[in-house]
Symmetry: C2
Subunit: 328 residues, 2 copies
């Protein structure tokens, strides 16, 4: 029997993770007795779960909120809450408050709980912790020199997580997600949003804007793979992980042109033709500073798995978010 807390539970990955946990009813061999779902807006109540569900609308960086969130001592915490890259770049204070102070408040709340409380804390970091110039492939020992405030905040979160873990205050693992595509629903304010938009919108019969050149190279994984990373991270034994608890996740590395070619192969020319090229200097500048190819050797060795082609990623979107069809 176990109790799980998900922060950022109303977000895309939070909802997919919740659905997955509810459908499985368990996590790494333990049945889920209780789910606490937290976000700045109350997360939706998932259907079909036999255990107890609490939904909380709270900002972890507000005084006392993090303490309340861990008061019932959840054994596993998925800390997904955060302000996305575009927003953190535009709103300096909000980015630092939510992404840095929120993380610190959560860690301090865990520490303050005491009495042997030492939860598994799975933290979603991002490949935005890396900054150009890059080697052809970014190895696990490459330094973090982020070129956005978002990447800076995520890198600081990794450092805090490692120190609190080293001191025995939690069992942390940080997973650096590649760009997650295809995001269902509306565009969000992440600078990486177009990587999803250029697949999702055309499949829905809508026009999409491509704000960067087609030669941009990037690493992607599906929402399904992201949920898989989170579940696998939660089950990874501490002794397998060692002292270096922050890991780059694997993904499919390809150009935007290859993304579009995959869409064309699956859905046809008419669908691919719905992509309009219009460079956005802010997005182009942010994306230019992002890593391209991620080595992710440690993660692969530790059993983390992603897709192997971009076609797979497109098909997962069509199956999972579009009921198997698209607007031809």
């Amino acid at each position: 029997m176990t109790h799980i807390l998900i922060t950022g539970a109303a977000g895309m990955i939070g909802r997919k993770l919740t659905e997955h946990l509810v459908s499985q009813g368990g996590l790494n061999g333990k049945s889920i007795e209780r789910l606490t779902l937290l976000d700045v807006v109350a997360p939706p109540q998932p259907a079909g779960f036999a255990g107890k569900i609490d939904t909380i609308a709270a900002d972890l960086s507000s005084p006392g909120e993090a303490v309340k969130a861990v008061a019932e001592r959840p054994e596993t915490i998925f800390h997904l809450a955060g302000v996305v890259s575009g927003e953190a770049e535009v709103d300096f204070d909000k980015g630092y408050r939510v992404n840095l102070d929120g993380m610190r408040c959560l860690l301090e709340a865990i520490r303050a709980t005491g009495n042997g409380y030492r939860p598994k804390l799975v933290y979603t970091s991002s490949i935005a912790v890396f900054g150009a110039p890059f080697p052809p492939s970014i190895a696990d020992e490459f330094h973090l020199t982020p070129l956005t405030s978002y990447g800076t905040q995520k890198a600081i979160g990794e450092l805090l997580l490692a120190d609190y873990t080293r001191r025995g205050l939690c069992e942390g693992i940080g997973i650096r997600l590649p760009t997650i595509v295809v995001r269902p629903g509306k565009p969000n304010r992440a600078a990486s949003g177009f990587f999803s938009g250029i697949i999702r919108e055309p499949l829905a019969g809508l026009e999409a804007t491509l704000p960067v050149p087609e030669t941009v190279v990037h690493t992607h994984a599906s929402p399904r793979a992201a949920v898989g990373f989170l579940i696998h991270a939660a089950g990874l034994a501490r002794d397998k992980l060692g002292a270096r608890i922050n890991l780059s996740m694997p993904g499919v590395c390809c150009t935007v042109a290859q993304q579009i070619a995959a869409l064309r192969r699956i859905a046809g020319e008419a669908v691919a033709a719905r992509i309009r090229r219009e460079t956005d200097p802010l997005v182009a500048r942010i994306v230019e500073g992002w890593p391209q190819r991620i080595d992710a050797r440690r993660a692969r060795d530790l059993g983390f798995e992603a897709e192997s082609t971009f076609e797979e990623i497109v098909r997962i979107h069509i199956d999972e978010d579009r009921g198997g069809s698209f607007v031809a």
Copy 2:
């Protein structure tokens, strides 16, 4: 004409830097009109300075103090204030408050000043940002995986400095000091204190304790070199530095046995015999996780200079802190 703020001005490097600036009367070709010296205890008033001197007793992490410290818009800030490694490991809250919150308060105070205020901010980081296991020599692109809270706090300071600099809020440069030896005066609570103690105490006729094996390899520079790094950093043009503003400084890499051999060559066997071996598990564990050899290629290319032998370092201590003599 220029105004300089030194935080941590009462510390060893702060005092040596102040003396140097007063003796030169200028910094990088500009004469010093005003010096503001800040520390948690009021720093000593240096003699022989023609300009205005303010000494401030303040903790930068206390509300309002950082804003007051930069209110007169110093053009160059040397941010040396901090809790040392041993203390930050023992007192978790104090380490985070002084080393992390203090840095953040200073950066926020600079940002709040506004009106085009964009000081040169020289930040003393440390090679404690690195954590074992290490390659034979640590290159400039090696990742930061600190194994102490002190190293964690310094690494976070580097990330913040880079982000505030990128956003045009200050002109930051972070310099990762190797262990500075020989520290004059009393031992402090740094875990690295013995590296100085085993030279300083025997030269003063006193017994010193060596808490680690003689095979320990480490990188050292003199206080004189450290002051040189700070001055050089303050004068380095932004375009030479690029986006990666945090740099490992050069130093002399040697074993503890080689340190002792240098002492013996300069001061004789009787002096070297004053070192008593007594392992301290806490210190030994901390030092084990520290880097050994630092590549520092970028810093050397940018003109940062350290000693080339440990004998030089011992002689600088005898000249600068002991008036040229020692207790044979």
